[in-house]
Symmetry: C3
Subunit: 295 residues, 3 copies
């Protein structure tokens, strides 16, 4: 059995009438790629490695804020891409930790609409995967491609917590119960071994200073994702094989466990872990996100 | 349970009386490796990295023809290997697309016999895996080692289509039903994301010009493979970890799902995808095939 | 279901009262890392890449002896680490092959106590994983971290043989039955394809001269590991993705099949196989063991 195949799940490969304009490429034709030939006409793009100019919207995960993307955004912008890193409810400077998943989604949707962004490559990392699933439902026409990077792809009616191995979930429930404001704080040993396992201890400590308690509620909310699974939007999954936030196999994990729920998707693999490379190798991460996001 | 273990499946490790002559190496003995010492006697092989001279027969997969191997063959020949890339029925310049799996197998078997090839390293890529399974049944004494590269290893009485996730299979059935000559053509978006996911769009487009409709019937034929599973021929599996033509896990995929059916096999892993590296990094592919094929 | 979750299995993340002294790092505090700042005070550590000085005890696996570690120990010592490679019963120069798993464990425990080693990074490779599980039960206060490198992590009451695919197990049982001294010798073709698959044939032959028959009994002994699963000792798993001694998936293998039994663990991944890199790339292996072992 294919891992996730609800009733009425469309076979995404062949709904060409629903594929975003300009995406479907008729066999044997060489034309119709105006953006590309356009890009090649400038002198600059001849000197640089060929890069299609993309509009990235980068959505971070839990125990992070929009600065998570700082290094990667610098690299992508230096290559000519437009890069946006919206902050969302309950994170960054927002003092209110009492937020819902819908409020988080609304933050990103409002950001996209206010800036009138279009042809977006919408990237979600970790918990951000569940956010871009819901954002995509609300502004599908603005999205060129969805990119999940070691990110949750939830089934309809699932919560993020439903994808955690039982001991991890129980641990999170204990931490949640012990907090005064319904948040979960990662203890350093867990952060060090699961989120920044390839980092030096110094790097891990520096990273940890930017970790703050995560609003718990959105992790346990079950999401209606029926509309998401009807979207014909092209999708990619970036998987870093030293990422061990979830066990990779035995019924859990990023790839292939959750990635295959996307139906047809482009796979890009790197050798990083969950957090470290954003700081130590932002060029590597940027390269993988570009490979995932380009046409 | 071991994934595939039919009644009477021989434990391949210990049937030394059936191992091809010259392969079994008695413990603690240093002698008996004439080819090797011979190779080292020439001046040329002293200057080059040590390479055993092999005879490769390379069998391509679906949506490809023998030119699939062009770049890799150049590299392997430059290293002193003999390389053969037989075309098979329904492919290349053959105008007849109404072919069977047996006709395809016969093309390769006839090629091997006509050229009187022996001590072959027989490599199958993708669908070509099912072809070399059947070829090996017919000319076992000519084969030194079987190498499956992201290739189907079918169970007895299985078809290639049986190894596809249900949505992929249904999609192929739709495409087949819509064709006039019982073929399946890959739409570009599917080809781009599943077969050449790591390529640039330009590379993907260039590659796609060589893709032509694939005869459908051989993909759906169930094969009798009882004889294959009695062969003591040494086997290798080359797995590229960005290959996502099949999901890798959850009951599907190249490795370990199909590779483990080989019993004892030598695993070689690379970082490529299904098609791209044949053109962009033929030296990398050649190196992996050599590592899989050497004694 | 989480793969292994016996009754009473503690959720290791949150038992901080049981975490070895000095390991738990209170959120938002920058202090308390004396060893690190100490290390940075010397001129030498400023010139070298930053390395915490560790005490490694390296426990080899089957068909190997303590010389397995020679190259890796040279590299680690050159980086300032203390490295110990105890030999254990039935191996090396020990003429007695009639040993038990308990005797093997005792060899390592006695070695550690005799040399009064403390704050140990205890590394087990392959079968050595089951040894460090039992050693950890006996000298838990001396161990800073357990590192499993493509190593068995047995469930309570399991034997190493229980983790072998049935055909492999049957093959070993045949070899055992055919021996005069209750040992198992690896035939060269199996060793070459499963243990040193990435090696050249010359390297494989050279390696094979150091392989001697392995006492069979300890591989088939079921171990009481209840105490192991109560230990709060930090744990790491090093996985080399070309290691195919066990199939990696479908209910078998190093990672994630056995690694996830550790509960919370730090994952480090490399591109090697089971044996080859100890001789061809000891610096790579040393780097991965350091990444797994450091705080």
């Amino acid at each position: 059995m294919f891992p996730y195949h609800p009733q009425g799940y469309p076979f995404p490969y062949f709904n060409y009438q629903r594929v975003p304009h300009g995406y479907y490429y008729p066999p044997y034709s060489e034309g119709g790629w105006g953006w590309w030939h356009g890009a090649l006409e400038s002198d600059e793009s001849r000197r640089l490695p060929e890069q299609q100019r993309l509009t990235f919207v980068l959505v971070h995960g839990s125990w992070a804020d929009a600065h998570f993307w700082d290094g990667i955004a610098v690299v992508l912008r230096s290559q000519g891409h437009a890069v946006y890193t919206p902050e969302y409810a309950g994170h960054g400077t927002d003092p209110n930790k009492n937020v819902t998943h819908a409020m988080i989604t609304k933050s990103v949707v409002d950001f996209i609409i206010k800036l009138n962004l279009r042809e977006i490559v919408l990237v979600g990392h970790s918990f951000g995967g569940s956010v871009i699933q819901k954002v995509a439902e609300q502004v599908p026409d603005r999205i060129k491609r969805l990119v999940f990077w070691d990110a949750f792809v939830l089934k309809d009616s699932e919560s993020v917590a439903d994808e955690l191995p039982p001991p991890t979930r129980q641990g999170f429930e204990q931490l949640r119960a012990g907090s005064k404001d319904d948040t979960i704080m990662l203890p350093f040993p867990l952060f060090r071994d699961l989120f920044v396992n390839t980092a030096t201890l110094e790097e891990a400590k520096r990273f940890y200073t930017s970790v703050s308690p995560e609003p718990a509620k959105p992790l346990f909310e079950k999401l209606d994702l029926k509309a998401f699974y009807m979207l014909p939007t092209p999708k990619s999954y970036v998987y870093f094989y030293q990422d061990n936030v979830l066990p990779q196999g035995e019924g859990f994990g990023w790839n292939p466990h959750m990635s295959t729920r996307l139906g047809q998707f482009r796979l890009i693999v790197g050798d990083g872990d969950h957090f470290t490379d954003t700081r130590t190798r932002p060029d590597m991460v940027a390269k993988k996100l570009y490979e995932a996001g380009r046409d």
